[in-house]
């Protein structure tokens, strides 16, 4: 059986599982559609949250980001997990106690203002749509690479699958499919990592293998890796630069993570406030299973590439064109990997041309530049089973895992978008008299509309798709997180303060991003070149979230002190949100 057939069988089986769950978990009420009837076990919800959160970026790209940069990109590991501490202690339990269905609903009710509600809906839609584009393109690419269908067909299959279980089942269907998707993706991620760790270090746990001694060299793995990369002119793997910028970026990712609406709403599905606290812990357990493995996958893949390119060590000859491993050829076809024998010696020299002293070394040894000319970082995870020479079914699992990661996140985002439209815009703002059945229908139509929009954007990704991820995190950090937190921790915070703060954070962040990345990300319209010399206090646009958050807090504080305190019933509402008792009956629907 050839690899493509095997991939189709494994991916097909995983899709059948999702469809089965969709039929079993149909939603009959708005409570089921928006919050899975609030009956989800905290461990199950933790697993669903992990799948909801870990996107195609976590599954496919993160290990590559770490592999090629080393220590400095630990920011992604800490930032994307540390946000859960903030969420567990500052947001999730209280928002669960509040007992409504969406994030804008809390903002609208707490600040007794439809303006605040609509601003929150806008932030939510910008954040979620930005995010969903990446998931749809990721799914399309996975289809085309592993199943040999074209990207368009792949995208339609992905959309149709999400359509079935998200429109039918709402949050209930999505929750239980996400559990299945988590299982698929974690198995797919772990198996190749275990084998690679065994091959290199003899330790079956990749996270421990990373800090182990390699029997082949008798040195710790990281020492060998540091030696190889510095000999070839690359930065040392275990050291970094500009610690303050690293700290700021980590903070930006943490606050942004805590303010992402599609993750927050997952905590509305558990029965009690205490369950919301436990569930955040379980979510991080399931996330950590991948995040503790990812740095090992990154370092080991980097080492494998170095030794593949320099089989006799850096002092010896580079790999000959004819001796390149098979996986090299498979991936060259995709254009993600490319070699060019510039000096015509039949060998492929891989080194950093601009590294210190490399020009002299190259002249001495007759190198005419780096000959591994293309190396896409995403290959690391996708080609891992081939690099470790694992059987075909493991490759098929990676395909199913990548799709599971993309689809589970897409479904969570689509639910956040559709519930903001049907619940916050239609039910709360435009037509408060809509019936339960009418709202459920509106929710399903909004979901279908959101899927069509996401598919369209996936087929025609705007050129700025990559940059807008910075926008999503920046906005979540600068607008939603501070406003939600103040709504719980400050009884004095009023409508005028919160709205002004949210707008200040939103506008300041957008202005800063647009200054360097172009107005609305249109290339060529940026006012300053996107280089370190132009940054205000040296802060890159991607690191701006915490500054926007500080602006939000400061403006909200000043405006609220200059205006009247919120009415008594709102202060009572804040009191009640802080006390767990009575969460079950407080849904208000």
């Amino acid at each position: 059986m050839d690899q493509t057939t095997l991939n189709i069988i494994v991916v097909g089986l995983s899709f059948c599982l999702y469809f089965g769950i969709a039929i079993w978990a149909r939603a009959g009420t708005t409570s089921e559609f928006y919050a899975a009837g609030r009956g989800v076990n905290p461990v199950i919800n933790g697993m669903a949250t992990a799948a909801d959160w870990m996107s195609a970026a976590s599954f496919i790209s993160m290990a590559g980001l770490i592999a090629f940069v080393g220590y400095n990109n630990s920011t992604f590991l800490m930032g994307w997990t540390g946000g859960y501490v903030l969420m567990a202690m500052l947001l999730a339990p209280y928002l669960r106690k509040f007992g409504k269905y969406t994030v804008p609903e809390f903002i609208g009710d707490r600040y007794y203002s439809n303006v605040a509600r609509v601003v929150a809906v806008i932030c939510l839609i910008v954040i979620s749509v930005t995010y969903v584009i990446g998931q749809m393109t990721g799914a399309g690419v996975a289809f085309s690479r592993f199943l040999e269908v074209d990207v368009t067909t792949g995208l339609f299959i992905a959309s149709a699958t999400v359509f079935v279980y998200a429109v039918l089942g709402g949050m209930k269907g999505i929750t239980y499919t996400q559990v299945a998707q988590y299982v698929v993706l974690i198995i797919a991620y772990t198996i190749p990592a275990v084998f690679i760790s065994l091959q290199l270090t003899g330790n079956p746990i990749p996270g421990l293998g990373l800090f182990s001694t390699m029997p082949s060299t008798g040195e710790p793995l990281l020492v060998t890796l540091d030696g190889l990369v510095t000999d070839l002119g690359f930065n040392q793997y275990t050291t970094g630069s500009s610690p303050w910028l690293m700290a700021l970026f980590t903070l930006s990712l943490m606050i942004g993570t805590a303010g992402l609406p599609h993750v927050i709403i997952r905590f509305f599905t558990v029965p009690k406030v205490a369950d919301a606290r436990w569930s955040a812990g379980w979510a991080l357990v399931f996330i950590a299973l991948l995040y503790l493995t990812a740095p090992a996958v990154g370092a080991m893949a980097r080492l494998n590439i170095m030794t593949t390119m320099w089989p006799q060590g850096v002092e010896g000859e580079a790999v000959a064109v004819d001796d390149l491993p098979d996986w090299f050829e498979t991936w060259q076809v995709t254009g993600l990997l490319g070699v060019e024998d510039k000096n015509g010696d039949g060998l492929i020299q891989y080194y950093n041309e601009s590294g210190p002293g490399m020009a002299e070394l190259a002249a001495e040894r007759g190198w005419a530049g780096n000959e591994l000319v293309t190396f896409n970082r995403d290959i690391l995870v996708l080609a891992n089973p081939e690099i470790a020479q694992l059987p075909g079914w493991v490759i098929a699992l990676i395909a199913a895992g990548g799709l599971a990661a993309a689809l589970s996140t897409a479904a969570g985002l689509l639910l956040a978008i559709s519930s903001a439209i049907s619940h916050d815009l239609i039910k709360s703002t435009i037509n408060p008299n809509i019936s339960e059945k009418g709202e459920l229908l509106a929710a399903r139509i909004s979901m279908a509309g959101a899927i069509v929009l996401a598919t369209y954007l996936g087929l025609n990704p705007p050129g700025f798709a990559a940059q807008t991820v910075a926008l999503a995190f920046g906005l979540a950090a600068a607008s939603l997180f501070p406003t939600l937190m103040m709504g719980i921790f400050s009884k004095r915070m009023n409508s005028a303060g919160a709205t002004a703060g949210m707008l200040a954070g939103l506008i300041l962040t957008c202005l800063y991003l647009f200054t360097y990345l172009g107005w609305f990300f249109i290339p060529g319209t940026n006012m300053l070149e996107n280089t370190a010399a132009n940054y205000l206090f040296g802060i890159p646009p991607t690191h701006f979230g915490p500054i926007g958050a500080v602006a939000n807090f400061a403006v909200a504080y000043l405006v609220s002190r200059a205006t009247a305190a919120p009415p008594q019933e709102i202060q009572d509402l804040v009191e009640s949100v802080r006390i767990p008792r009575g969460a079950g009956g407080a849904t208000g629907h």
Partner: protein, 85 residues
């Protein structure tokens, strides 16, 4: 009023606990893993130093312990102050 003052005591206890946890959260990640890493450079871990371990794994493990500790302490506080469900 008795209930109100007890609720206030519950809330202050919660704020103290959150502050403690967030101080540890910040020391593990921003401290040990990044800004204070030079101070830990003498402690070797698997071919590198403790700061690198904190950046790639240690901070995540600390976050995990913190969330479970917080959940356990808060659920106990809920019962002590009679506000559990």
């Amino acid at each position: 009023m008795a209930e109100k003052s007890d609720n206030n005591a519950y809330w202050s206890a919660n704020l103290r606990l959150v502050t403690l946890c967030l101080v540890i959260w910040a020391i593990a990640s921003y401290g040990f893993a990044i800004l204070l890493r030079p101070l830990l450079s003498g402690i070797a871990v698997g071919g590198t130093d403790l700061g690198f371990w904190f950046a790639q794994q240690g901070s995540i493990l600390v976050f995990l312990v913190l969330i479970f500790f917080y959940a356990w302490r808060m659920n106990k506080l809920d019962k002590e102050h009679g506000v559990d469900e």
